[in-house]
Amino acid sequence: MNEINLVIDGKECKGTSGDTILQVAQKNDIYIPTLCYLKGLTPIGSCRMCVVEVEGSNKLLTACTSPAQDGMVVKTKTEKLFNYRKQILELLFAGRNHFCMFCSQSGDCELQTLAIEHGMDSVRYPYLYHDFENDATSEHLQMDHNRCILCGRCIRVCAEKVGAHTLDLEKRGWSANIITDLGQKLGDSETCVECGACAQVCPTGTITIRDFVYRGRRNDCDEIVESICPLCSLGCQIRGYVRTGSLARVEGSNLEGHDGGQLCHKGRWWLPESTERERLSVPMIREGSSFREASWEEALDLAASKMKAALDKKKAGAIVSGLSTDEELTVFHSIFRNTLDMEYVDCFIGDILRGFKKGFQPFIEQGVRPFTAAHNIKESDLVVILDADPQDEVPVTASYVRVNTIINGGKLANLSTDNNPFKNLTDVDIRVSPDNMFNVVTALLEAVSEGKPLNLPGMDTSSLEKLAAMLKEAEKPVFVMGGNFAREARVVTQAVNLAIASGSVFEDGLGVIPMVRHANSLAAINTVVGDEPWIGTADIDCLYVSSTGLIPEDPQSLEAMSMSRFCIIHTSYMVHPLVNMADVLLPAPAWYERSGHFCTIEGERRKLNVIIRPQHTLKGLGEIFDKLTEKMGVRINSSDVQPCENIFSSTVPAGQARQVAVEEV
């Protein structure tokens, strides 16, 4: 990488060879107007707003696509350029319906901002008034082609970041239009994953999110808070726009990062919806078939007495959410494990987390991190999906898989008990019965590491042979393990063995990616997840349940609640069937009212921030447990919980990982 020197608008500017003129200008704080350009997407130079004059060239060059060269003399602000840019804007305005007074994006529109910036006080060209379609078939997105300037940002984000490639361009000239699949309506599209990335990057009012329009322009919002999405273990970075105390808009903020600022359907729609749901704001106590409001004092008194009685009989239990922050999990660990010495403590979907915990344990003991950051999927030449449904479990990883397959040309194999989540994209697709999964993975391991022939009675092994050959050939395969896959710890261990055998080694650990749904699953594994399952078998007198109410509770946990004699439910929403199980309801701050950290499968500890201040009737977890333990007459022994990144960090390079005989598990 050589340093290059340019003169832009008379200023000496430094850049790196390979930079475009625009990149050098931006590095040196020189503003060049852009419209179709968006950082992180391939520049296409189609809008021609960024045209610049370069000495020695008699043509105007688009700054976003022209490579900067050493010694270039560039002018970005001449009268000629200003007039050209204004002319482009006038042509865009004349082309379609760009009347601001009836557009929901007025004030948030990049086209409008640029036109004002260029003093466009009238349009010199006749308007076309061509009536394009307004596609309102999607549940959340609206696509009014009359507002479109054909910048192609949506097409590029959909293809390059989401890997869905739902959108493209049809026809030419005045009739050119954004098209969904092969001419379907957006709502009928089979490839669209409804992530809303297209709407986030749209510079005009063409693709809009119904949930956000007229809730407040970005500029009118009172506060913009950086936080993360708590809906899965990837912990995508988000930006929450707050207006008059409510969440007006949520956007992905990591534009230059691995995910390119995308969110999935969960983050995009569930997060804003979660601020509109019916909240639990005061403690309540069951009275017959309904609840009555109670004071904190009364509710905690009742909870403490029931809990104490149950503890004396060793019949107290606790189920907490994997969406709790590190800080909250530490409190749970201190109270339930260290102070009350409870046997029956677990997390929702505990069986899956236990499978990963036990399956990974032998490798963690070796000092190896048995998994890698999820975005490393994009570095792999072969992705093996092991009974996972990434689009459902950790959706942005599905984008990584698609991008790696469609754009990077990586291979994709699917080995599952159910269906193929990446139809039409997989090179090999194998169906295995749940009972046979261990044998299949073992056979693959033996084939890859020892060259043993695949011999599985009752199974057509031709596809498996193909997969084994692909694994032998691959330089950096990645194994994506689904929740279903982890129900058996020995299968997880065997799959990690397979990763080691096929040389799946990354800088931060072995090339395994666990699809854990809950945001802080890794920290939960580190704290509250017990070694043995008890849900459904243990006889529980009093059960404490902490749920954020954001994702539905798993049936097993709900069953345990229904089978315990007394239930203390600590949650944020009046969410059913959870609250139906309660004898005492304790209100909790919602995700947007809390702060803390999540240990993400991206390998980063990310921070959740308070977006909206909680109501005064709510209390934090620490205060509640101080009071509860005081009423129970016990003193808290706080635990010294190691942050999970320490627990899971490698002390030896992943390349030194040794295979483990499954009998050891």
Partner: protein
């Protein structure tokens, strides 16, 4: 109405300006004046006629507001053809009671143009003041400049389209 957005400053302005004709004074003939202000897009033949007359009689002609400048909300109808617009407006709208389906027209009424158009499609405009409504500062600025003998252009920080 948007003139009132300049609040008490309208008093100072009126002291320096002689308002000869406004819609309130029920204009029959347009007199010769220094400055004429047109708001609204041109939608029918009468409006085109008035715009031409005003161009004749005014030294400086101002297109006032988004509709006069760009066509604005009137242009919603431009995505349909004229007959369809009339049919929709006079027979199909929910609030219309018109059992015989009469669509007004004939020689007594000015004919609707095929499209609603910005003022400068028909006559030369000297000053454009976009905005729906224009920014109050822009309103004041434009008249102060004209009073100083200059032909103003709305500055970027006072320009808006909504």
């Amino acid at each position: 109405m948007s003139f009132l957005d300049i609040d008490e400053k309208i008093v100072d302005l009126l002291e320096q300006v002689d308002l000869t004709s406004t819609p309130i004074t029920d204009i029959k003939e347009i007199p010769e004046v220094e400055v004429g202000v047109i708001e609204g897009a041109l939608g029918n033949e009468e409006e085109v006629h008035i715009a031409r007359k005003m161009r004749e009689k005014c030294k400086i002609l101002i297109a006032w507001g988004d509709c006069a400048v760009f066509g604005g909300i009137n242009c919603l109808r431009n995505f349909m053809d004229r007959d369809k617009v009339l049919e929709e407006a006079y027979t199909n709208t929910v609030s219309t009671v018109n059992p015989e389906g009469v669509i007004p027209g004939g020689d007594e009424l000015p004919a609707l143009l095929p499209h609603a158009i910005p003022v400068d499609y028909e006559v030369k405009v000297d000053v454009y003041v976009p905005g729906c409504p224009p920014d109050p500062e822009a309103i004041l600025y434009v008249f102060q400049e004209i009073l100083q003998g200059r032909i103003p252009k709305v500055p970027v920080d006072m320009m808006r389209y909504d």
